[in-house]
């Protein structure tokens, strides 16, 4: 469904980064971490050992069907698990590609691909797994978690939400708008969990923002975006009609200031801008996942934070501003999976940063070492010897023992010394 070139671009955007991050020589984080053991258990040493969880299930989504399948699978393999991958049936060509190619390149006795739709997924979810990693919608996320509960299986849910983009007036507008546009329409024509869902800006700045957006859109996609090869189509007719219904609502359509064209045969919808759509409409309450960008206007830019926080926690939130104070407030007061200042979506490509949601946008995170951690169990290992025996631990609990014990637990070296010297003396 994507134009060839964008497809390649997005594979690389994160995937190769992930793979290169996991070069074998870099698998240093498999090694045990030594941690301090305290006075209370002296002498002793402690370690944290990472071990695989076992057999894990990865269910991926249709919008980045390659990336969202391989990315978690890389983490699962690096952590030493056996993996079943269930690619999305809504991206059937990619699913078939996996089924055909993956067994050829990896150990297909422990890494399997299961294709299919709802019945197959339901049956997979009935089995016992050591972890389930799901990328997709909140509705299905609930079903996955409830199924996992039967077997006490931990889950990671990478869900969606309405990612807000706040745009202040003190920005380099041309650069900001390009970044905003590529994050929205350059990402699968808005069909991305981290694409900006809506914009918040001041009433006074909105017209300038809209104009700049129009200019950049023409630069990217030409006069007739439906003819542009650089614009992704909508994945299928279900979603096509879901989207057209959103803007065909009279309360919404009158707010369109740019775009709105669609081509049913090609399943294409043009980048569309709207201003101040009524907040109770479906467009403004559900995740859009498409090429519509509603712009919400506020009196002062500071009000935008309150607006964003009144909604469920998003996977990502964006802020364009040079105002350091606003940046600080944004970082401190906007809960989200990830925050970007003066750019959009890029955090996905940084393997040092956790990628995952919070609240309605999900639980668990991955990328880089966190992918490894996501599919690992961190086992605490405490090693003691037979030295350092503290009689104070054991009954009968005399007053003398209790005071030494108190000291030991409080980390008192004096108590430790007493204990090591064999106090209190046992009467045999």
């Amino acid at each position: 469904m994507k134009p060839d070139k964008v497809f390649l671009l997005h594979i690389q955007s994160g995937l190769l980064l992930q793979v290169s991050f996991f070069r074998l020589s870099d698998l240093a984080f498999i090694n045990d971490a030594q941690v301090p053991a305290g006075v209370t258990t002296f002498p002793s040493s402690a370690q944290i050992v990472s071990e695989p969880l076992g057999c894990v299930l990865v269910i991926s989504a249709w919008n980045y069907p390659f990336l969202l399948s391989i990315d978690p699978v890389i983490g699962a393999i690096a952590a030493g698990n056996a993996v079943v991958l269930k690619p999305s049936e809504i991206a059937p060509a990619t699913s078939a590609l996996f089924a055909k190619l993956l067994p050829v390149y990896v150990d297909n006795s422990c890494i399997k691909v299961v294709e299919g739709g709802v019945p197959e997924t339901t049956e997979l979810l009935d089995q016992k797994w050591d972890k389930i990693f799901y990328t997709g919608s909140g509705n299905i996320g609930r079903i996955v978690m409830a199924a996992a509960a039967k077997h006490l299986t931990p889950v990671a849910l990478e869900l969606g939400g309405k990612c807000p983009a706040i745009v202040d007036s003190d920005v380099d507008l041309h650069v900001a708008v390009k970044r905003l546009a590529v994050g929205k329409w350059g990402c699968n024509n808005g069909q991305a969990c981290i694409a900006p869902d809506y914009v918040v800006t001041t009433k006074s700045f909105a017209p300038e923002l809209v104009d700049s957006l129009k200019r950049v859109l023409e630069r990217f996609y030409g006069q007739d975006p439906l003819q542009s090869e650089d614009l992704s189509r909508i994945v299928n007719s279900n979603h096509f009609y879901r989207l057209t219904n959103l803007i065909d609502d009279k309360k919404v359509s009158q707010k369109i200031v740019h775009g709105g064209q669609r081509d049913e045969k090609q399943l294409k919808i043009a980048p569309t801008l709207l201003v101040d759509v009524p907040l109770e409409t479906a467009l403004m309450t559900a995740e859009i996942f498409g090429p519509f960008l509603p712009i919400v206007t506020v009196e002062k830019i500071e009000d935008s934070i309150e607006f964003v926080n009144a909604r469920t926690k998003p996977l990502a939130a964006y802020l364009f501003t040079r105002n350091k104070k606003l940046q600080g407030e944004f970082v401190s007061n906007v809960p989200a999976g990830g925050l970007l200042v003066n750019d959009v979506a890029l955090h996905v490509t940084n393997p040092q940063l956790p990628f995952g949601g919070v609240g309605e946008s999900g639980m668990g995170s991955y990328h880089g070492k966190l992918s490894f951690d996501c599919f690992s169990h961190k086992k605490a290992v405490l090693i003691r010897g037979f030295g350092g025996e503290a009689g104070a631990r054991y009954p009968p609990y005399t007053a003398e023992k209790q005071s030494i014990l108190r000291g030991l637990i409080n980390g008192s070296f004096f108590a430790l010394v007493l204990a090591l010297l064999g106090f209190p003396r046992e009467k045999r």
């Binding site: 076992g54 409830a146 350059g186 940063l353 605490a380 405490l382 003691r384 014990l405």
Partner: protein, 495 residues
């Protein structure tokens, strides 16, 4: 009045009748308090942690009393396992709070220059903690301290099966902590179920797998993330030990980790022992003689929680094959709910006592031909919360760590891992998921938010449509971190 499942509801003074509406308005009230930002300040968090320490140190005698009332715990045990450890842990949290709250810098790739990347911890919001009856103070306040440190508003639901401790918490938490942001809800399973009808930002549950499943299923409706601290059969491998001293120490520690820890009613208590045939008699003799000394005074061991659990434990010995394997103890007093330390040698491996979590003062000893065989036995059972092994054999230690999986492994001691703030505490597989203690408590109740900041200064065209092959070529260099090639490429591409 016999303590039991319905006990809380029969006490009109202490219990509050909770309806869905009441709990709902409490939950939304807490959310408002949280949204006001009050719990996020470091000062608030510090004051709460200090308040918690005062709660514990001001009321030591009463704490010993309630723990004795609920479980017959001796004050020595109560201090060692609950009060003392809690104060130590909260002090550790206070000392490290500023460090934990600070954003962690992450690398930003050169191509994004100038840029900064960091991970910022923030509270999850309003969290719910269910605690268990066996360490009724510790299992309530340890997670509570983590949730406070992470800046959350909190609801604590202590177990109704330890009613004196629950009442103590309900009376004192409002006195020492910010009662608008920290609530205690008393009641039985129905109250727990009603609480779970609401959305929370996190739920930590300590208890049985059966209830854990119910909690997680209800949490799924709201996409509430959960951490489940469940039980398991914690095995203890005892290798051949040379030397009287080492043997005595091992036996001391085994007794400490079984009978001295709430009479074996603890998720990390030793459930059963695996030992070589030829060492078993030595071990049993030493256990017997040491038990005599340790349990010389009355009250050295806690009592069984209630009739129901007493019945459950005595039923294990109703199986004649199991009863005939008793080599020490076995005496049970229903009136005082006390069971003496009991040792069994090779009860049938398919008997209830060997398949269910014992959670009591009965210690089965299973013999194997070679000690290495214990690893296979261990692996045939669900992953436990803890594995213990008394051995000086380094290769056996390595095999245990590498070939088995468990929440934790402790060599040459048992239960003490609970006291170490530097290692995570939690299960895996059937014993649960989610870890806490020390910094892990803070992280359990935090959202670690990725923050990436860029400037408008440098702008690359290869990010944007319209697409062409040369842009993809450039991107390849970017993603391979081939900066020299990228530089050359960009020079060539200069528009």
């Amino acid at each position: 009045m016999a303590p039991g499942l319905g006990a809380m509801e029969e006490k009109p003074a202490a219990a509050t009748k909770h309806t869905t509406i009441c709990l709902g308005s409490m939950a939304s009230g807490l959310r408002e308090v949280y949204e006001s930002g009050r719990t996020k300040d470091m000062e608030w968090r510090q004051s709460q942690l200090r308040g918690l320490i005062s709660l514990l140190t001001d009321n030591e005698e009463e704490i010993f009393d309630v723990l004795h009332e609920d479980l017959g715990k001796h004050r020595g045990e109560a201090f060692r396992d609950e009060l003392g450890i809690l104060v130590k842990s909260i002090k550790y949290t206070l000392q490290n709070l500023k460090k934990w709250m600070a954003p962690e810098k992450a690398e930003a790739p050169l191509v994004a220059f100038p840029a900064t990347a960091m991970v910022v911890p923030e509270p999850l919001g309003v969290v719910l903690i269910f605690s268990c009856w066996n360490l009724p103070l510790g299992l309530a306040l340890e997670p509570l301290s983590g949730a406070l440190a992470a800046g959350n508003a909190i609801v604590l639901k202590p177990s109704e099966l330890a009613p004196a401790t629950a009442a103590f918490l309900a009376a004192n938490i409002p006195k020492y902590l910010d009662s608008s942001a920290v609530k205690v809800v008393l009641g039985g399973p129905n109250v727990g179920e009603e609480l779970m009808e609401h959305r929370w930002d996190k739920v930590l549950f300590t208890g049985s797998a059966r209830v854990g499943r119910i909690i997680m299923t209800k949490a799924a409706k709201h996409l509430t993330p959960v951490a489940l601290e469940l039980g398991s059969k914690c095995p203890c491998i005892v290798d051949w030990l040379d030397g009287k001293r080492d043997r005595q120490i091992a036996v001391n520690r085994i007794i400490g980790a079984k009978w001295s820890t709430c009479a074996g009613q603890a998720c990390i208590a030793i459930d059963h022992i695996l030992v070589e045939e030829k060492f078993a008699p030595i071990l049993i003799e030493l256990l017997k003689s040491t038990l005599k000394r340790f349990m010389a005074e009355p009250g050295g061991m806690a009592r069984i929680l209630n009739e129901k659990h007493f019945q459950r434990l005595s039923a294990y010995l109703e199986d004649s094959n199991v009863a005939s394997s008793v080599v020490h103890g076995g005496y049970m007093d229903r009136k005082t709910l006390r069971i003496e330390p009991t040792i069994l040698l090779n009860p049938p491996v398919d008997s209830d006592i060997m398949t269910e979590e014992i959670f009591g003062p009965l210690l089965p000893i299973i013999t194997v031909k070679k000690i290495e065989d214990s690893i296979a036995f261990l692996k045939s059972k669900p992953k436990p919360l803890a594995i213990y092994a008394f051995t000086t054999n380094e290769s056996l230690k390595r095999r245990i760590v590498e070939e088995t999986s468990s929440g934790s492994v402790t060599f040459n001691d048992a239960v003490v891992q609970y006291a170490l703030e530097s290692v995570p505490f939690g299960g895996v597989g059937h014993s649960g998921f989610g870890q806490y203690h020390g910094k892990y408590s803070f992280e359990l109740f935090s959202n670690k938010k990725a923050v990436f900041k860029r400037s408008f200064l440098i702008e690359f065209m290869f990010r944007y449509p319209p697409w062409d092959d040369s842009k993809i070529g450039t991107l390849r260099h970017v993603y391979n971190y081939s900066y020299i090639l990228l530089f050359l490429n960009l020079l060539g591409l200069r528009r």
